[in-house]
Structures are given as structure tokens and as C-alpha cells.
């Protein structure tokens, strides 16, 4: 495991970023609310949360596909600006994305070889590289993701979902990325294909020293691959820290619930723990702590006071008032 060197400069730094969008009915939704995350070179970080927690919107923000309403996202000191109709700032090209739906992420009308070669030649042009044999490089990239080079001549629909996701990875690798943002890259795949795709992604990132932002709803998968995890709920960071520690000793009641809700395939017949209620409508978020209506440990004041992210040593932090100061006050049992 890569040890994060705290003195190092972060490669990607998200600072107090908020992203808003207008819904069909004109209500403004704050999909990402004041999120700060630092990503160091070669680090694998997992962003976890249920639908509507803003993890995908945050991914878009990192890529410049969604505009920040406040805060900033910087890659290597360069401010990530919204990708308009102009060509993308070439200094941002080392930040690449892998989408959930591999079928939609590949052009169905072009051979996959043509699509990968395109990225290679774009990189060669931008960086002024010389002596690159595109064909050989495409072949190598395909081999790297466990596909025969002859696959270059085929079209995306001729592959299985798992293979397509690997092709998408090969294409992302073609631009020699430093940061890879993968939005639910394996959740659309069959169970047996998931492990392979996840492992390949991790292995490639380790080998090439690529920092990986792995976005998933599945905390169990994130636990298997990420060193650090960020738990999001309704656009806010609820808890973050080394995955193993968060898993073993979650501090935020929501993290606890999220871990407890994962059914375990061990034959014990143990029922997953239920969490009352459902994720609220972000346009109509509860006051105070947005989680308080579902929280088993809520107490006096949770419905009015917004909890701050409290540092808990190292990279750990959690946003819960239980951690603010020793609270002896009478808790209301939900």
C-alpha cells in the first residue's frame, strides 16, 4: 500500500467545492455541498454513498463536466474549468474518467482500435512526443488490459460488458493519466466479472502510479481496493479516513448503518441492519444535520445545528455532533 506522505503536495485538491444544478421544476439542488478532498499521487481513494449523495456530480466536477458554484478544484496547480465547446486545456489531459456504462462510453460506429489510437495521437501531439508507433502502442494497451491486440479491429458491441470496461480503461491509459476517476466502473458487471475489473483497475493504477478516485455505492468493494474512503450523504462528506479504520470503527452513525446494511454471504442467515426512512429529496433537505431523521443516535439539537467535519487524527474526520465534545446530555432515543 502506498503510504500517503503528508508533506507531499496533493495532485488533485478539491477545496470547499459546491455544485448546484437546476431541476426540471426550476428548484436549485445543491448536489455537492462544500466538499474538500486532497488526492496524492498514486493514491487510491474510494468515494461511497447511496444514490443522490452527489458522488457522480463530484466526479463530473473533477473532470470539468459540471461547473462549481463555489470553491475550487485544482489539478497540479491548474484550476479545473468547465469544459465548454473549446478543446480541453491540455494541462488537464492527465485527468481521465471511466464511466459506469461501458457500452455508452465507446463509439459504436468505430473500431475500438481507432478510438484508442485517436487518444494516443492526441497525446503525442499535445506533448510533442517523438518516435511513437501508434499501432504498437494500441496493441500494448490492449494487452495491458488482458485483451488480444486483434481486438482493435472489432466494434464495441462485439465485447462483453467486462471486456468493454477494460477497453475503456485502455483508452483512458492511452493519454497517460495521472488521475483516473472511475464512476461506478464495475456495478453494471456480472459478479464474476466485477472482481476482475476492479482488480485490473487497481493493478494498473499501482503499476503506472496513477491516482484513482473509485466511486461506488458498494462499501464492501471499496474496502477491498481503496486505501482511503470518503463517505458522502446528500452532497456532504460525512466521514473520511483510511478504509480499514473506517470499516473497523466507523465514527459516523451513517457509516455504521451503511456498513451494517451490507448483507454478508457467509450463510449465517444474519439479516442486514435496516436504516429507517430513505435518502431525502436534496431540494428539501432536513434542517440541522441532514441525516438526523434517520439517525439512531440523534440527540438534542441535531435538528437545528449543522455538524462540522471534525478531524480525528491523521486523515480521519467525521461530521457528527457526537464527536464534538463529550456529550453527557440526555439523548433522545429514536
Amino acid at each position: 500500500m502506498t503510504v500517503v506522505d503528508e508533506t507531499q503536495k496533493p495532485l488533485l485538491s478539491i477545496e470547499n467545492a459546491s455544485i448546484e444544478y437546476k431541476r426540471g421544476d426550476r428548484t436549485v439542488i445543491k448536489a455537492v455541498n462544500n466538499v474538500s478532498i486532497d488526492l496524492y499521487p498514486g493514491e487510491i481513494i474510494g468515494i461511497v454513498g447511496e444514490s443522490g449523495c452527489g458522488k457522480s456530480t463530484l466526479a463530473k466536477g473533477i473532470l470539468g463536466l459540471a461547473e462549481l458554484s463555489s470553491g475550487s478544484i485544482e489539478f497540479d496547480g491548474i484550476v479545473v474549468s468547465k469544459l465548454g465547446r473549446r478543446r480541453r486545456d491540455r494541462r488537464l489531459l492527465p485527468v481521465q474518467m471511466i464511466f459506469q456504462d461501458s457500452a455508452a462510453a465507446l463509439n459504436p460506429r468505430r473500431t475500438i482500435g481507432a478510438q484508442i489510437a485517436e487518444v494516443v495521437s492526441a497525446r503525442v501531439k499535445h506533448r510533442g512526443e517523438t518516435g511513437v508507433n501508434e499501432i504498437n502502442e494500441v496493441a500494448n494497451l490492449l494487452r495491458r488490459v488482458g485483451l488480444p491486440p486483434a481486438a482493435a479491429m472489432k466494434y464495441s458491441h462485439e465485447f462483453s460488458g467486462g471486456q468493454r470496461q477494460r477497453i475503456a480503461l485502455a483508452r483512458a491509459l492511452a493519454s497517460k493519466p495521472k488521475v483516473l476517476v472511475a464512476d461506478e466502473p464495475i456495478s453494471a458487471l456480472d459478479a464474476s466479472a466485477q472482481a476482475y475489473a476492479a482488480k485490473l483497475l487497481v493493478e494498473v493504477c499501482r503499476d503506472e502510479n496513477i491516482a484513482l478516485v473509485f466511486i461506488s455505492h458498494d462499501l464492501a468493494v471499496v474496502r477491498a481496493i481503496a486505501e482511503r474512503v470518503v463517505v458522502m450523504y446528500l452532497g456532504r462528506v460525512f466521514e473520511q479516513g483510511p478504509t480499514r479504520e473506517v470499516w473497523k470503527d466507523p465514527k459516523h452513525p451513517y457509516s455504521k448503518a451503511l456498513i451494517g446494511a451490507i448483507p454478508v454471504p457467509d450463510g449465517s442467515g444474519k439479516r442486514p441492519e435496516t436504516l429507517v426512512g430513505e435518502v431525502p429529496d436534496p431540494a428539501n433537505a432536513p434542517s440541522g444535520c441532514v441525516f438526523h431523521l434517520r439517525c439512531k443516535e440523534r440527540f438534542e439539537g441535531c435538528d437545528t445545528q449543522v455538524p462540522k467535519l471534525i478531524p480525528l487524527g491523521g486523515t480521519r474526520a467525521a461530521a457528527c455532533r457526537l464527536l464534538e465534545e463529550p456529550v453527557e446530555a440526555d439523548r433522545i432515543v429514536a
Binding site: 473549446r86 478543446r87 489531459l93 481521465q96 462510453a105 463509439n107 460506429r109 496493441a139 488480444p148 482488480k199
Partner: protein, 308 residues
């Protein structure tokens, strides 16, 4: 961590450029072959093929000059005059044959021009969006507010009655459909993940339009255009019929029908050019259906070298 065993790597490599080109051509041929096996498409293609021959060899096929007055007016179909003669004693068969050079050729020109103009405007509107999109689409709305035939009549009348002006009028009333359709398609594809992926990899707008967007919208647009040829023939015919299109003695099919309807008992004068219009419209519709399948990316299959 070892995942080497996940897929047995084959030793095959990416073929050389010439080989790749050959494979591409054979893949295309493969699709063409599959399309040709669809009976309706083949029927449409044959009809269009026959008309193409008629257009090229009109002079050889037609027994008489289209405007020659042969003395016998309003004679019903016979061996000498397959489709009979009209009120001025002209051979209807010869006129229908020569008329293909006007009706068919001009309607194809009309549709092609309308499609190109509409595609460019729709592409700009959809890709760049914003204020420009607003203005262009309101302009399109304006065109849609008028009934096509009235607008075309107005334009043709203002420019002066001639076939060329009728075609111009046709283009002016037809391009908005393409602009709107193309815009809709572009907006749909603009944020498609494969387009976004390419842009994230550093592809510029022009390249994105050329490589990702155009091929994606070409299919539906061409299908629309093909099916529009029939409508264009009808539009030109209607304009002639109303007196603002082809002028006598030009053997334009619509003009012929228009002349024919005044001689109701001599049905052959109007029926044969009418049948010509029907066959062309039908053939292009069948072609359009086939094209739709051809542009389905799932029809594309690489020609694989057998590896086992």
C-alpha cells in the same frame, strides 16, 4: 495479485495498414450483402435502378419526342402509344420517360440541398447551443408556422414560375425539418459518454463533430432524406399543378397530372405520371427502411480472422 490467467492472451497482433483497409472493405461488403438480402430493400433498389436507367437513356427509350404533336389527340393506350396520347396529341409514355429527368432529378437535388443546409444549421445549433441555438430554432419555428405548400407557393410566385424556382422554394420550405431533426440528434449525442470521453482525451470540436457526431446522426438523417424524396416529387408536382412550377410544355409529372385532370374521361393522361410518382415514392421509402438497418451499428461486425 495475479490476474494473468484471466484471459488467455492470443498471439495475434494488429494487422498492417493494407490488411486493415482490406478488412474494413470486406466488413462493409458484409453489411451490404446482409442488406441486399432483405427483400423489400432489394425491391426499392431495383425500382430506383430502373428509373436511373430511364433517366440516362430517356432519349433511346422514348419512341417520340416529349413535345412532338403526333396528330391523334386523346387516343387511349395502344401498341403504338403505350400510355395513350394527350389533348395535344403528345405521346404520354414518352413524356413520362422524359419527365423522369425533371421530376426525379430535381426532387433529389431539392432533398440533397435541404438536407445539407439543414444539417449544417442543426449541427451548429445543437453543438454550440446558447443564444445562437435560440435564434436558429426560432427561425425554424417561423418556417413551421406556415403550411408548406402555401409558403412554397408564395416563394415560387415571388421568384417567378419555373422549375428551378420551384426547387428553390422546395429547399426553403424543407431545410427546417432537417435542421430540427439534426439539432435534436446532436443535443442527444453531444453529452453522450463516448463523445464526452473523446473530448476529455483532448479532441477538438471539429474532430468531435466529424468523428463522433456526424456518423451518429448520418443514419437517421439519410433515412429521413430518402423517405423525403417521394414528398419532394409530390411537392414539385403540386407546385406545377398550381401553375407556379414547371411550365408547359415541360413534361413534368405534376404538370402532366394537372393537365390530365381536365380530361377526366381520358384517364391515361393523369394516371401514368401518377403511377410514376407512386413507384418512385414507394421505392425511396423502402430504401429508407433498409438504410435504417444498415446504419444500425450492430450490423457492423469486424471480419475476424479465425483464431483458435
Amino acid at each position: 495479485m495475479s490476474i494473468e490467467n484471466a484471459t488467455p492472451p492470443t498471439t495475434t497482433s494488429i494487422p498492417a495498414a493494407a490488411e486493415r483497409r482490406r478488412m474494413k472493405i470486406s466488413a462493409t461488403l458484409h453489411v451490404v450483402k446482409r442488406i441486399l438480402r432483405m427483400p423489400l430493400f432489394a425491391v426499392g433498389l431495383s425500382i430506383v435502378g430502373v428509373w436511373l436507367i430511364v433517366i440516362i437513356f430517356a432519349g433511346q427509350i422514348a419512341p417520340f419526342s416529349p413535345n412532338a404533336q403526333l396528330g391523334i389527340a386523346l387516343s387511349p393506350p395502344s401498341w403504338e402509344h403505350l400510355f395513350g396520347t394527350d389533348a395535344l396529341g403528345r405521346d404520354v409514355f414518352s413524356r413520362v420517360v422524359h419527365g423522369s429527368r425533371i421530376s426525379l432529378v430535381y426532387s433529389v437535388i431539392l432533398v440533397t440541398a435541404a438536407m445539407l443546409i439543414g444539417t449544417v444549421i442543426g449541427m451548429i445549433s445543437g453543438f454550440f447551443g446558447g443564444r445562437l441555438d435560440e435564434i436558429l430554432m426560432r427561425l425554424v419555428d417561423l418556417f413551421f408556422a406556415f403550411p408548406v405548400i402555401i409558403l412554397a407557393m408564395a416563394v415560387a410566385a415571388a421568384l417567378g414560375a419555373s422549375v428551378q424556382n420551384a426547387v428553390l422554394a422546395g429547399i426553403i420550405v424543407s431545410w427546417p425539418i432537417y435542421a430540427r431533426t439534426v439539432r435534436g440528434l446532436v443535443v442527444g449525442y453531444r453529452d453522450a459518454e463516448f463523445v464526452v470521453s473523446s473530448r476529455l482525451a483532448g479532441m477538438g470540436s471539429g474532430r468531435s463533430i466529424l468523428v463522433d457526431l456526424l456518423p451518429s446522426i448520418a443514419g437517421p438523417t439519410l433515412v429521413l432524406a430518402t423517405q423525403d424524396v417521394g414528398a419532394a416529387i409530390l411537392l414539385l408536382a403540386s407546385l406545377s399543378f398550381l401553375g407556379v412550377g414547371a411550365q408547359p410544355p415541360m413534361p413534368e409529372w405534376g404538370a402532366m397530372i394537372s393537365e390530365g385532370v381536365t380530361y377526366f374521361s381520358s384517364w391515361w393522361i393523369a394516371v401514368f405520371p401518377g403511377l410514376a410518382i407512386v413507384t418512385v415514392a414507394l421505392a425511396f421509402n423502402l430504401l429508407g427502411d433498409g438504410l435504417r438497418d444498415m446504419f444500425d451499428p450492430k450490423m457492423k461486425r469486424s471480419i475476424q480472422r479465425k483464431t483458435k
